[in-house]
């Protein structure tokens, strides 16, 4: 360095300075952006807890909605309706998804058919939920000529399939091959190996995937707008219009009544606590439940 003329040395120092300043600048920008992103999250959750908790009471869980203008009332029927629709969706979607995942992981590794199914599942995952609602409407509601909880359940089930299939596949891929081979070596047929060895070993991860899919569809409103449609009264009949929590929140939020806004906030808090609880449980499961290593 000392051999260089003074001018070049100055230029070199300047460049080094510029580089390190740029570096610092990027670091600062990255930190600020992260903080900036956490702001809406904290704002949403904070405001939701503040508004929701102050409007939440026992009546919310035990009463059905009151007519406009009368105070009180709750969303008991919406919570029950949501449970019914989600139960149906899980019943239809989860076995279907697990089956597809098993096929991808155990039967179709490295085949073109497997790649095609995987790709289709990923693409299906990105299809907007409102389109699922339209499809369920055209498939079930239009021929029957009336809205039904069943159609809503089918729409949500279709949305669950790709998520469940892909996580099942990924979790089965973590099961070490020697475990399978040991089972096959004992003369156990493949189907039994898959059921009682592969699936059982990967079960914590697969449960995680199912919970994630469940959490994702639990908050969906768009597919239910013209399938389940909503209902102001008690109903468990899946062949008729049925209330659902997200749907009720949507309707109440757009209404001009303060009392209904209050109920919408309470409903949103209940919904989000339900979803967050399942996501957090999933996190705990995923961190320690899955079979680690084994290779």
């Amino acid at each position: 360095m000392s051999a260089l003329p003074v001018r070049s040395r100055a230029v070199a120092t300047l460049i080094t300075l510029r580089r390190s300043v740029t570096n610092q600048l990027v670091t600062v920008v990255a930190i600020i952006s992260t903080l900036l992103v956490l702001v809406p999250l904290v704002a949403i959750l904070g405001y939701l807890i503040y508004k929701g908790a102050s409007s939440l009471n026992l009546a919310f869980f035990t009463h059905v909605p009151m007519p406009v203008g009368e105070p009180g009332g709750g969303m008991a029927n919406a919570i029950a309706g949501s449970a019914a629709i989600l139960g149906l969706a899980s019943l239809l979607g989860i076995p279907f998804g697990i089956g597809a995942g098993v096929y991808l992981a155990e039967y179709a590794r490295g085949t073109w058919l497997g790649a095609a199914v995987r790709f289709t599942a990923d693409v299906l995952n990105g299809v907007p939920s409102i389109v699922m609602g339209l499809a369920a409407y055209a498939l079930i509601v239009a021929p029957q000529k009336h809205f039904s909880g069943f159609a809503g359940g089918v729409a949500l089930a279709i949305m669950m399939v790709p998520t469940v299939a892909r996580t099942t596949e990924e979790m089965l891929a973590t099961v070490p091959n020697p475990v399978r081979e040991a089972a096959l070596g004992l003369g156990i047929p493949k189907w039994r190996t898959v059921l009682s060895v592969s699936l059982r070993t990967a079960s914590p991860g697969i449960i995680t995937g199912c919970m994630l899919a469940f959490a994702r569809v639990a908050g969906e409103t768009a597919p239910l707008l013209f399938t389940a449609f909503g209902n102001q009264f008690w109903s468990f009949n899946l062949s008729q219009p049925i209330a659902a929590l997200p749907l009720q929140i949507y309707v109440y939020a757009l209404s001009p009544y303060d009392e209904w806004h209050r109920l919408a906030w309470a409903g949103a808090l209940v919904l989000i606590v339900m979803i967050m609880a399942s996501v957090t449980l999933v996190r705990i499961f995923a961190n320690r439940g899955v079979l680690k290593g084994g290779h």
Binding site: T34, L38, F96, G99, A100, Y103, G126, L139, W191, A268
Partner: protein, 360 residues
């Protein structure tokens, strides 16, 4: 299972339809087992039990084809949706043809159906959302991968993932009661004052409109872009980073030359994936965009999107033509998101697969 009992265990494997590689390993394992635990004189106790439980080839075939049916069911779902949407929108396709997407008039009462305002609203709000979300998402990915202390990494990435878990309707609720007043009273005047000359921000600003919808969309697609671009950046081999660092690069130069350049395909893929999410987002947008089918440059003006017109008008649609026009909009949305997602997935795959072998 009709093979004679005298056949030893290893040759049985082919009967189970196992692949050659598995047989090889099975033999090896069996040999090891024999050495380790001596030969059990009557190994068939467990074996006969298991065999008695399983009815062999038939069950195997049945189970395999059941799984195959589930997998093919995914194709079937996509085809079924496509078929149902096309057959239900036939009326509108025949009535308007391509003019459907070029006409600006949306007037169901007089039977005029032009979807251009919705296309415009969808494209504009999604692009604005991407423009807002991408720099933030990349900055956060860089922060989490290279700057953040290890201890904070888990909690922060968990928090950003929580953003993805909040349901659309809750974003909408928050948007109506919190974001709209903020944009109307605080952000709006500032934008009007400094960016009013562009013509993009024109009074009056009611808080409900294209700009608010884009902000909500940006918050909603951020986790998608951030988590996938992080995966892609993580897939860049460590020796790429080390090579650049060894040349004396600063951290930013290392990220720019070693990581971002190598992962650019995947990052673009993640951005397109976010775009796909934004195009189809319904409820939150419907709640804050104002729902008025016009084409205006003004971002404070109310707009309308493809998804929100379906959500808003479907249950009130009277007449078959109106219904089928709305279903045609759904069909367009379906096809566009399929194409967008397919492109994005291919790009992400290209990066992750190429680097999967050599990563770390």
């Amino acid at each position: 299972m009709s093979e004679p009992e005298t056949i030893p265990m290893p040759p049985k494997a082919p009967e189970q339809g196992a692949s050659p590689t598995i047989i090889k390993t099975v033999v090896a394992q069996h040999d090891a087992g024999v050495k380790a635990a001596a030969v059990p004189s009557a190994p068939s106790a467990v074996r006969t039990f298991l065999q008695a439980k399983s009815s062999g080839r038939l069950a195997d075939g049945a189970f395999g084809s059941l799984m195959l049916i589930c997998a093919l069911g995914i194709f079937a779902i996509v085809l079924l949706i496509l078929f149902v949407l096309i057959s239900n929108s036939r009326l509108s396709i025949h009535a308007s043809g391509w003019k459907f997407f070029t006409s600006q008039m949306w007037d169901p009462v007089s039977g005029q159906f032009g979807a251009l305002p919705f296309v415009y609203g969808t494209v504009l709000s999604s692009l604005l959302a991407v423009v807002m979300a991408v720099p933030l998402a990349l900055a956060v990915s860089i922060f989490l991968l290279d700057i953040c202390p290890k201890m904070l990494q888990g909690p922060i990435s968990f928090l950003t993932e929580l953003l993805a878990a909040i349901p659309s309707v809750v974003y909408g609720l928050w948007g109506i009661f919190v974001l709209v007043p903020i944009i109307r009273d605080q952000v709006g005047p500032v934008l009007l004052k400094y960016l009013g000359w562009t013509g993009l921000f024109v009074a009056p600003n009611f808080g409900v409109g294209m700009f608010t919808a884009s902000v909500i969309l940006a918050i909603m697609i951020f986790p998608v872009i951030s988590s996938i671009s992080r995966d892609v950046m993580r897939a860049v081999p460590v020796n790429q980073r080390e090579a650049v660092l060894a040349l004396g690069a600063t951290r930013w130069e290392m990220l720019r030359i070693g990581v971002l350049r190598n992962a650019r395909m995947g990052i673009i893929g993640s951005v397109i994936l976010g775009l796909g999410r934004a195009l189809g987002e319904t409820i939150a947008v419907t709640m804050v965009i104002g729902n008025h089918p016009v084409i205006l440059k003004n971002l404070f003006a109310p707009g309308y999107t493809l998804a929100s017109v379906i959500a808003n008008e479907f249950t009130e649609a009277t007449g078959d033509l109106y219904l089928s026009a709305l279903i045609e909009i759904g069909l367009a949305l379906f096809l566009v998101t399929i194409v967008v997602n397919a492109i994005a997935r291919l790009m992400v795959w290209a990066v992750v697969r190429d680097n999967a072998g050599s990563a770390h």
